[in-house]
Symmetry: C2
Subunit: 447 residues, 2 copies
């Protein structure tokens, strides 16, 4: 989006680098982790989105001349830091949960190893990406789970920041949405785009019939006609008449969608338009989609509630230093560190993770190893993949892979994951120390 | 942000242009309006932010070669539309509420007059900008109102999309925030930035004292030390000791902020650090800020709840065709149009607006004239300003003007506007027809 992502950064990241350079600690080898302390209230699972975008952001995290000049003139950094920034390039290693993976409290979504200075400056942009993208993907997955085989169309661009709009479409696509209204998402991320007409198009014409004729002439009989500008029944009749019963779909965008869908389906069938689909679009969320399961609806257009995370507009991921060397010697061993702040304590030590699956392939636990990978059975599935090695991006993949992954790993979840009522995470988080024994676990249900 | 804003657009905007070109209606003179049907549930007033950004978006709404090629290859548009897009430049007129203005249900935030085609394609990006920016500004204004003279610092970048982060800082600044953590907001919008250190900085060092020494050496005694990594009391004592009582501030980021602030204030005073300020930052919102009024707190850092609109992450603004000519003749008169959709009907006809003020300058009503400007008393204040004239941007202003405006116009509101409990809009919306008589008013409290 921006040519450089370097200023999508909190002021204090650079202040810390400056102070640490002064105290000779800036280049201590360090491990930061990005993780959730909990799921949004009542949610059963979360969905990771943002990994691919995070890799782009790391690659584009460069301080060009104009950026460095701004930082110097604004007195954010001194000359020494400015010099270091001007040649900044992340040179460390990153592992993480790939796009489309499921997460639970404590999941180490991203593990970043490098010097303190090079890793700390990535904090803000990584959190921004994962906190928003995953909020949308988590809501989207609940919607597509409730929609079953019926396609969901992402159309929330207008209800969120203009660039959020494009990335929301990407996140929704990963979580099973069929298409988006957002053209930038089509260009930048390759998400299929779709769209037909708004009420303004009908109002522009002298009559609704004129508008329908105009749209059919431009887009063909297989288009979707918006039928609620004036009178739904009259509009449906007109659409069927103008297409000799071969109309692609009608869209309902107001009123009680359940009863209207029933009435419109009956009318369409009585007119012989048995293949004309019904798309509904007004203020839908996962609960409404579930409530419409019994209705004769063929597709859902979802806007506001999707792009705002359906009540959970951010995931609350944090990025914490969990391990660091006690000198700038690159060979110095890493030592776990943790803060003790009330209610916000962290668990020191590098994390590893696997999803424990039972003999039927159903998820039972999120197993997090502290300081060493937990041992898994043959069914268990390691969750961290290598994303960056020595500064080189190695974890890129097509968006379709993320979409397929999400469908696959969502299929591992126990059925309780798909209850729409508020509840606990669908599986427990288990923390194991390097010896494989259970250790302090702030993510235990009783904690 | 992007070189062009043209694809921050819903697919159907271009599909409509294509169909309307086919039916000879695309260039009918039209008026679109951007407005809220209501305030977020329980809110007493809303704050406009986004106007200045919207002007930039209109100016940068150009379809360059690469963009047009994408649209052709993706078969979004035909050759005729592609040709029209390649020379697109908005040539009409725009009026609107300036940044920082207050809004109420039905306020015509933006009035766009041009051909249908040139005006309809702006729908998505204008809504994206106003819906997010104003959501943040509306939440921010409640926070600064509760904070009174104590400064609020915007630090929510990490909890929202990376570009939302920068524009949230702009919106918060308009609504009275003193500064932001976001460096891109500093560069792009000129918002003052600030920042010191995170817990990771303390954990990086061998001891908290080492970390404090390092920070004080880099940033001077006037800096803010984060004191809750291990033990707050010990940290405060250490910070005072290292600065001989001249420490600028301490930051509390966890635990019960009220009791801690009292304890820390007492400790600071007992140590002679009577000028050391206390900044609090953990999960604050307008209710928490209000609850801390009696606490010895000198400033608030606000993150998640600010950038997510404190429960209302979008404003629900819509963009509707309210008037259009019945031919493409530029001289043809405009005729009001309105849709009749259930619960989502619109009011046809171009809107004008003023804020009715009583003899003491206190706001009494949002008066919306349909088809003609309402007549006002001498105290009344017209709300729409000219922003674009014949395609030329004429409404630009410095961000400081918007910030001053907000403080001024918020001062006009009756005291009920600042109740934190859920309630009705602080003033009523009145709709007058061209003769000055009350007319159909979907924004009346009883409607």
């Amino acid at each position: 989006m921006l040519e450089t992502t370097a200023l999508l950064t909190d002021h204090y990241e650079l202040t810390m680098v400056q102070a640490a350079m002064g105290s000779g600690t800036a280049f201590r080898r360090s491990v930061f982790e990005l993780f959730p302390r909990r799921l949004p209230e009542g949610r059963r699972y979360g969905v990771v989105a943002g990994t691919g975008r995070a890799l782009d952001a790391v690659e584009n995290f460069r301080f060009d001349d104009e950026t460095v000049s701004f930082l110097r003139e604004a007195k954010v950094v001194n000359d020494e830091v400015a010099q270091w920034l001007s040649t900044y390039r992340f040179s460390g290693d990153i592992w993480g949960y790939p796009d489309g993976e499921i997460y639970f409290p404590g999941s180490p979504i991203m593990v970043v190893e490098g010097t303190f200075a090079e890793a700390v400056v990535l904090e803000t942009v990584l959190l921004s990406i994962f906190n928003y993208d995953s909020a949308v993907a988590s809501a989207a997955s609940r919607m597509t789970a409730m929609a079953g085989d019926r396609p969901c169309i992402e159309m929330g661009s207008r209800r969120t920041n203009e660039w959020s709009a494009a990335v929301a479409a990407r996140a929704a696509y990963i979580a099973g949405f069929a298409s988006t209204s957002n053209l930038e998402a089509g260009r930048t991320f390759g998400v299929p785009t779709a769209g037909t007409a708004a009420h303004s198009f009908t109002l522009l014409h002298d009559t609704e019939e004129d508008a329908f004729r105009s749209q059919l002439a431009a887009l063909g009989n297989n288009t979707t006609l918006l039928v609620d500008t004036y009178d739904v029944i009259e509009a449906v009749k007109k659409g069927v008449e103008l297409t000799n019963g071969r109309l692609g779909a009608v869209r309902l965008d107001s009123g009680d969608l359940l009863t209207q869908a029933v009435d419109v389906r009956r009318l369409l069938d009585s007119l012989g338009a048995v293949n004309t689909r019904i798309i509904v679009t007004s203020d839908l969320d996962e609960f409404q989609i579930a409530a419409l399961r019994a209705a004769p609806v063929n597709g859902y257009g979802v806007g506001t509630q999707l792009v705002t995370g359906s009540g959970a507009p951010t995931c609350g991921f944090v990025y914490k230093l969990v391990s660091r060397a006690d000198s700038e010697d690159p060979a110095a061993p890493l030592e776990p560190v943790a803060k003790k702040s009330l209610n916000k304590g962290s668990v020191g030590g590098r994390k590893f993770a696997l999803r424990r699956l039972d003999a039927n392939g159903i998820a039972e636990a999120e197993v997090i190893g502290v300081g060493a990978p937990p041992e898994g059975d043959t069914n268990d599935r390691p969750l961290l993949v290598e994303l960056v090695r020595g500064g080189e991006i190695v974890g890129r993949e097509p968006l379709s892979d993320a979409r397929e992954r999400h469908q696959r790993v969502r299929g591992e979840l126990p059925s309780a994951a798909f209850k729409m009522s508020k509840g606990y995470p669908a599986i427990v988080t288990i923390m194991l120390d390097a010896e494989g024994d259970q250790t302090f676990n702030p993510y235990a249900p009783e904690a």
